[in-house]
Symmetry: C2
Subunit: 310 residues, 2 copies
């Protein structure tokens, strides 16, 4: 299978860690409900393809997201493959956290918002109230020895509020990191960012006291900008990139889809630039083709489609 030509680019890190979100964020946003055995097989194939960090599932109420009603079962099915510091699970609140800890989970993620409108719509709280909700979750997780990631959504724009001031994002991000979180993921939930904006927010966060090596980026391709913004971040010193195998969760055939950055597309770029990700591109493409076949439609990832057509 074709591989990108190796042409190192100046000013880039030697390696980037991919935080794989296809199993949780990806499948959660697909119309097809995937059986738990297939999800477990998906995790195992991703591990075999060299993905080291995989968000496995989310302990939300099954009433909200039926696709995630199998969270406990998936963790049990995976055994050792589903636990440990590199298998975070999303825990939106204390109830979710207790379910996760009871299974031996030692790595979690919480999900905040940079804007009041999205905090209200997604969490039914103000930003301040959401921080009050997160505090005991993070404390309990840290007491249990767990690693904690903080997602902040709407960092680069909001569908209701429009532009989002950089200072507002820094305020929320600092507040979440001050709770004791270990990693911060900056979400461009509606995909509107451009590279100068990415660089400015990263600079502002570092000036605000957040370590550069704790910052991850999570771009969506709604406006076709996901890979450009990701590479702008990487060239600005970011070493952790969220991506979804095959582009799962962002089917280009669905009008409402917002489009996750496809892991294959960013791995193609990074590998070409001589930046190591540990990912075996051929094995990953095969995995995404297998999942696309299960879902009954082509993978959104352009690399997967190009290499499948070849």
């Amino acid at each position: 299978m074709r591989q990108p030509q190796l042409e190192p680019a100046a000013g880039t890190p030697q390696q980037v860690r991919i935080y794989e979100v296809g199993v949780r964020d990806g499948l959660q946003n697909e119309a097809t409900v995937v059986p738990v055995e297939v999800k477990a097989e998906f995790v195992r194939r991703l591990l075999a393809a060299g993905l080291k960090t995989i968000e496995v599932t989310s302990f939300v109420s099954p009433k909200w997201v039926p696709q995630l009603a199998d969270a406990e079962e998936l963790i049990r099915l995976l055994g050792a493959d589903g636990l440990g510091p590199d298998r975070p699970v999303l825990c939106p609140n204390d109830k979710g956290l207790e379910r996760a800890l009871a299974l031996g989970v030692t790595s979690i993620a919480i999900f905040g918002s940079a804007t009041e409108t999205f905090a209200s719509k997604n969490l039914n709280r103000t930003i301040a109230e959401s921080l009050t909700m997160f505090e005991p979750v993070v404390n309990r997780a840290k007491d249990a020895g767990a690693w904690v990631r903080a997602y902040v959504s709407m960092c680069f724009g909001d569908p209701w509020e429009g532009d989002v001031p950089v200072g507002q994002v820094v305020h929320v991000a600092r507040a979440m990191m001050d709770l004791g979180c270990d990693e911060l993921s900056l979400g461009d939930t509606i995909g509107v960012a451009t590279p100068g904006h990415v660089e400015r927010l990263i600079d502002a966060l570092v000036e605000g006291g957040i370590d550069l090596d704790k910052i991850a980026v999570h771009f969506h391709d709604t406006y076709g900008q996901a890979l450009s913004n990701t590479l702008a971040a990487v060239r600005h010193g970011i070493g952790i990139v969220d991506a979804s195998a095959g582009g799962l969760g962002g089917c280009p055939y669905a009008k409402s889809a917002t489009g996750n950055l496809a892991t294959e597309d960013v791995v193609w770029a990074l590998q070409g630039m001589g930046i190591s990700t540990g990912v075996d591109l051929t094995a990953l493409v095969e995995t995404s083709r297998w999942m696309a076949e299960y879902l009954g439609r082509p993978a959104p990832s352009r690399v997967v489609r190009a290499l499948s057509a070849a």
Copy 2:
């Protein structure tokens, strides 16, 4: 209509010239044959949206490309809108050039290959033979006072030959510029380039004596890399970018499509970074929606789709 948040990025030019290829390269690669009146209206709408440089048509044999059999008629229909230094037409050989000059065309483009295999398949000649074919075309055009662009395809990879050595591209590019061409467009015909590769080729061309301000880039999105590579080029000093309104010619629903960079997607990025293109994004999106409606399917451009869904 939503616009990107303005956040200037360091190390970028103040403005970029979009070389619009949707009318020629885009429609040529669409399954639907578009009537000449609609093509003329398309050109006029693009001009009204602020696109300054528009490749209008190609004087190839109608036997090869039936979509372009209306080249003469289109130029006549457009009148003053279709002529001048910013309305180049593609002239693959001396016959095409004579047809163009007879109509008052004063700006042309020729189309070469960086690889022997593609030269053979596309031009039925070796690279050396193609240069021999171009020489009288460029001489005749320059004698007539015309401006000449040189396309070089397969600059970053070839479907048959695999990797393409940078030195080979420089050799062909220099030979074409030495004929007297005014501008060089580097084509990533199969969409495999990554940013380090882009920067290395640009550096090599400049070292080879080609002025940076005469170099344009033409990326395809086959592997999802087109915008990233374009922005890498712009941040490396390139001021001329080829793009296709709406992403025409690269329908993502067609398995064989290679995917032109959508003008809207690159304008979104550049506008966000504070780089002027002169394009009115709202008017351009309306134009691409109008054309997509004519073609009976959504525009491939993600910006067009996102703003149409909003």
